[in-house]
Symmetry: none
Subunit: 217 residues, 4 copies
Amino acid sequence: MRHTGAATKENIVDAAIFLFNTKGFAGTSIREIAEKANANIAHISYYFKGKNGLLEYLVSKFYEDYLCVIEQCLEQCLESPKECLKKVIKDILYYQFNNQMLARFVHREVTLDSTLIRQVMTTYLAKEKYYFHKLLEHGIKAKELKKVDIAHFLAYLKSILNMPFLQPQYLYEVLHINPYEEYFVKQYHQQIISWLEQILFAKKEEAIRLGACHLLK
Amino acid sequence: MRHTGAATKENIVDAAIFLFNTKGFAGTSIREIAEKANANIAHISYYFKGKNGLLEYLVSKFYEDYLCVIEQCLEQCLESPKECLKKVIKDILYYQFNNQMLARFVHREVTLDSTLIRQVMTTYLAKEKYYFHKLLEHGIKAKELKKVDIAHFLAYLKSILNMPFLQPQYLYEVLHINPYEEYFVKQYHQQIISWLEQILFAKKEEAIRLGACHLLK
Amino acid sequence: MRHTGAATKENIVDAAIFLFNTKGFAGTSIREIAEKANANIAHISYYFKGKNGLLEYLVSKFYEDYLCVIEQCLEQCLESPKECLKKVIKDILYYQFNNQMLARFVHREVTLDSTLIRQVMTTYLAKEKYYFHKLLEHGIKAKELKKVDIAHFLAYLKSILNMPFLQPQYLYEVLHINPYEEYFVKQYHQQIISWLEQILFAKKEEAIRLGACHLLK
Amino acid sequence: MRHTGAATKENIVDAAIFLFNTKGFAGTSIREIAEKANANIAHISYYFKGKNGLLEYLVSKFYEDYLCVIEQCLEQCLESPKECLKKVIKDILYYQFNNQMLARFVHREVTLDSTLIRQVMTTYLAKEKYYFHKLLEHGIKAKELKKVDIAHFLAYLKSILNMPFLQPQYLYEVLHINPYEEYFVKQYHQQIISWLEQILFAKKEEAIRLGACHLLK
DNA sequence: TATGAATGAGTGTTCATTCAT
DNA sequence: GATGAATGAACACTCATTCAT
């Protein structure tokens, strides 16, 4: 049986994502991938220049699309920084939800020490940080956002944005939250917004109320 | 040359933690561990019943000590749930800080799908959840804590408690925060407390102030 | 240097037969086989799915050809059961003689307790027994053969058919019979026929003679 | 728990016989033996000078007792060579029946090529051959036995004497004869005697009858 | 371009033995 | 004398990759 190159490549990608997600990169052999993809073992080296090439391909794919999502947001968002941040958060959540297996695998693999990972750090995550940094800065200047420590806040934001996709089994089996159905993202999104309302977003009402109080004195 | 068992065993554990932390469990060979530990390869199977036995040993060790930390807190904390929660958070942070490599490795490995992980989930993490659940419930009843969705809050809390230890290189290389020096924990601890003040802890002052305001009307 | 598959495979089979014959299956390592066959160690797993696969292959090969020999005999033998039996015995002897090393190894290995052996028992040896049983029954019915206990006779026949190939060194070193040269088979074959003449084959002459005696009375 | 040396040694011997019988010498590890014998692994090297020492011990034990059986027979047998031969055969059968596992293991191991086996050949089996040879020679001289080729007859005799103990599973599973119960030995013994009556023992009756016939002419 | 065959390095594990106690 | 710990060699096997076709 002959496969068209494109289909085979796609099959390999899908199989790799599934297996890397489940068993980790180092814990998966290209034999397993080829078998699951109904492809020849040599295809992997052929298309992706080896197992590591496949890893690079998938990680890059994830982060490139990821950055695309952010960039599209930033382009469209001509409104306030706050609304823009809200949209970015929502889009990132849905992007990760729609690529759950890839997301889990990449987020896990990114915790290792390797040259590939260092590259990712300086290429994609630095860029991501830049976007967020700019957005937050603007928001703070515009007094839409509280004066928070940006670095710490980013650590905070990243951790809650990634957590459900890095540890879905914890949510599912321990907390009895099902992160695989769409209802979850909606709910989790609202939750994050609610947290940000308290932590990040400057509260106009309170300001007004306080002002009112002050006036009464 | 004969080594004493205890020292060799400890060397293996240390080497394994270091290497698993750096390269992942599947990415590390027992030969590397033995070499780094200046031990015989057979020692690993001898002491830990194979590579998987070593994994189980380390994961169990981490979580047992982890639960110990929580349990000791709960025993000592006869004060308010809120203060108890604060102490638990602080102790967990410092426990993870003092076992950074082990923590990173375990948190990463726990994102895989395997029977070992499932055991950990149902054994240790279920217990941890139980402790937190009880604490939060009490706090909410006592009106020291806001009425939050406990499951979602736990996801939130866990993610920010673990994040710096799971992804220290992100902090270090992207955010330029150094998570390896003690100053970081102190700061991060305060940060978390500050977040919780806004999200979880019922604000007495505000209540009073609001009350005062009300009186003024 | 690349070897053609067929040649390498054959080399492995030959080396394995030689070494298993000499040192036994469990006493031979695949390294030795690969070395003797001038093949890569991985070839053995590659061609035969592991050492056990190689064992199964050899045992099956032996018994399949063995049964073939018997079946061909039975097909051709349209004469008397007695003559057919004689031919089967001769062909089995020569088949084993021509595959001495394989025969010794298989006969030895078949004395172990394992699932493989049990399969052989129920697959090949049961079939062999069926053929012999049928043949003997016919012969007995036709009064060409004496009324012997078939099961016991089969045990007897098998033991003398296999013995020289299972224990050639006993013949050679203790009895000073050389079972490796063709002269031996010829002689041993005659010997067996002579034994069967006395034990199994109904003696026409005697019957006649006795009859004659009887007439004389 | 301390074992007395003698008991431990016996346990090891029993365990070794059982396991060697089942899985073969090379297929059994001293760990398994020690475990089954509830003994320390070091005991085996300690008592028997290693695994090979244990092998030698068991093989020697088997053949020494085996020769003892024959020698006792020969001493007691002051009657005719024929009756003596009958008794030897019976005693050998029962000796092997009473040491089934050891017999199977030794008979199997003796089909290998090794220096140990060569020693056994020249030490015990040569002696056995000598006894049988003498006995047969006497019998033939005394015209109690037919003039048979002694070497071939010995091969024949050995094969039928050993077969049920070397391949009990063939008897059991293929021929549906149970070689493990005492009834079998009795029956098999009679069978052998019956075969020998036809092959080896000079037939007085026939001689007489023939003579009678001759007279009648 | 696509692929089955081939490969040597590397995997985790088990081995029989030795040694200090 | 008896034994638990220690050991290096060997085990069967799988790995990712390469190569000729």
